[in-house]
């Protein structure tokens, strides 16, 4: 191969490498910018704090999560909360734990529901869909 052909080939290779690196960087930034991961993490942290506040509330109470969670599946049990999007791999799930007093229990789940409520009834914390006229 003569020198000119080799140098053209090298230039093409360099351009391909640069394009590849730029593509990787942009796709990483785009995946973070889509922010579903951030929404999941913030929602999970919020639910843990809401449960702590419900435990601290004497008597029964209901609280509605103020944001639209229609993209997510949310499950709760006495050990923690799990939030994921349908089809998410295990790595993309967000799990947060909380500690209930003895004899308290938490349960419930919602799937792609816009309005999600946490209800405390006696010693049970229940995750459910909000009733349409509950907070009117």
């Amino acid at each position: 191969m003569n020198k000119e052909a080799a140098s053209v080939l090298m230039m093409v290779f360099e351009v391909l490498v640069v394009v590849f690196v730029v593509f990787m960087v942009i796709s990483t930034a785009k995946s973070y910018a889509e922010s579903d991961t951030v929404i999941k993490i913030n929602a999970a942290n919020d639910f843990v704090m809401m449960i702590d506040v419900l435990i601290a509330t004497p008597g029964d109470a209901v609280v509605e999560y103020p944001y639209n969670l229609s993209k997510f599946i949310i499950l709760i049990d006495s050990g923690g909360i799990l939030i994921e999007k349908p089809g998410d791999s295990e790595m993309k799930r967000v799990i947060r734990s909380f500690h209930l007093p003895e004899s308290y229990s938490a349960f419930g789940g919602v799937r792609e529901i816009e309005n999600v409520c946490l209800e405390k009834t006696k010693k049970d914390i229940i995750l459910r869909e909000c009733d349409t006229e509950e907070f009117v």
Binding site: V25, V38, V48, P58
Partner: protein, 96 residues
């Protein structure tokens, strides 16, 4: 060393340096993005602790006084008889 060999050596060194620089730039970018994400989801530990601690002075299953007749809870008023380690572990129950 003849010119051809010198040229090849310089090319190899250039590629190595370029590879290292590109790797550093990509890693820096990845860490910056991850740090930004952590900033968006950061909650101060004091805030979490405050919410957990609220139960001790508001929940009658912890230390708070509850009138046995009316079952009214008096937030902020602690029953000294309940203010012990056993009650604490029952109120903030962990696997450990």
């Amino acid at each position: 060393m003849n010119k051809k060999a010198q040229f090849s050596l310089r090319k190899s060194i250039s590629w190595t340096i370029l590879g290292v620089i590109v790797t550093i730039v990509v890693l820096f970018f990845a860490f910056t993005i991850a740090g930004y994400k952590n900033q968006l989801t950061y909650i101060p530990a004091e805030v979490k602790a405050e919410f957990i601690a609220e139960r001790f002075v508001n929940n009658p299953d912890c230390f708070t006084y509850q009138d046995p007749l009316t079952e009214r809870t008096y937030p902020g008023i602690i029953v000294l008889d309940n203010f012990n380690e056993e009650r604490l572990f029952s109120c903030y129950h962990t696997e450990q």
